[in-house]
């Protein structure tokens, strides 16, 4: 099973600034996913990060606000740009070694914007 290291585990940021979240996997995976979990809510997919191509964003999420990098098959970053208090959430990265099989998750980044 894939082991995912996500950094930072938590942060408190000033509004208007940006935060980059890192996701490192211990094996090569084709697809990586970024989810947002707002307080008391379920997980919502932000985008799918594919190595060698631009990320695919879900409805309601745009690249200018959530730029994603995927430089290789084991690493991805998600940036939350120009933050506002509404961006306070848990952000999680996820991978699937085999499509539609078990998804493995990082431990999440708890972001608070003040």
């Amino acid at each position: 099973s894939a082991v995912i290291s996500q950094k930072p585990s938590r942060d408190i940021c000033q509004r208007g600034t940006s935060l980059t979240i890192q996701c490192q996997v211990d094996s090569q995976v084709t697809m990586m996913f970024w989810y947002r979990q707002q307080p008391g809510q379920s997980l919502t997919l932000i985008a799918t990060a594919n190595q060698g191509s631009e990320a695919t964003y879900e409805s309601g999420f745009v690249i200018d606000k959530f730029p994603i990098s995927r430089p290789n098959l084991t690493f991805s970053t998600l940036t939350v740009s120009n933050m506002s208090p509404e961006d306070s959430s848990i952000y999680l990265c996820s991978v699937e070694e085999v499509p539609d099989a078990e998804a493995f998750f990082g431990q999440g980044t708890r972001l608070t914007v003040v």
């Binding site: 697809m31 996913f33 989810y35 809510q41 379920s42 997980l43 919502t44 997919l45 799918t48 848990i90 999680l92 996820s94 699937e96 499509p99 539609d100 099989a101 078990e102 998804a103 998750f105 431990q107 999440g108 708890r110």
Partner: protein, 112 residues
């Protein structure tokens, strides 16, 4: 559009008893996968059980089993002999093409 609905925001059960969490979903696809994930206070998402839609047999993992009713688009989770460590948020999820669609979650409390 694919949707997943969990109609029980909170549930509680006495230790050692059995509890069933409900989930319904909607998809136009014939091939898909269903999951139950557990999220304890640590935030770590943990797979509880997985069901392939093409399999009629209900999945079972130790104390956890599902009742998969494909025609009714229902996918409930039964936890037997509940333990204090089962206290967590439980999410039902549907996947196709790798993307997970989650239900709203059910917060389960196991009481001693």
């Amino acid at each position: 559009a694919q949707t997943v609905t969990q109609s029980q925001p909170e549930m509680s059960v006495q230790e050692a008893e059995t509890v069933t969490l409900s989930c319904t979903y909607d998809t136009s696809e014939n091939n898909y996968y269903l999951f139950w994930y557990k999220q304890p206070p640590s935030r770590q998402m943990i797979l509880v059980i997985r069901q392939e839609a093409y399999k009629q047999q209900n999945a079972t993992e130790n104390r956890f089993s599902v009742n998969f009713q494909k025609a009714a688009k229902s996918f409930s989770l039964k936890i037997s002999d509940s333990q204090l460590g089962d206290t967590a948020m439980y999410f039902c999820a549907l996947t196709q093409g790798g993307k997970l669609i989650f239900g709203q979650g059910t917060e389960l409390s196991v009481k001693p």
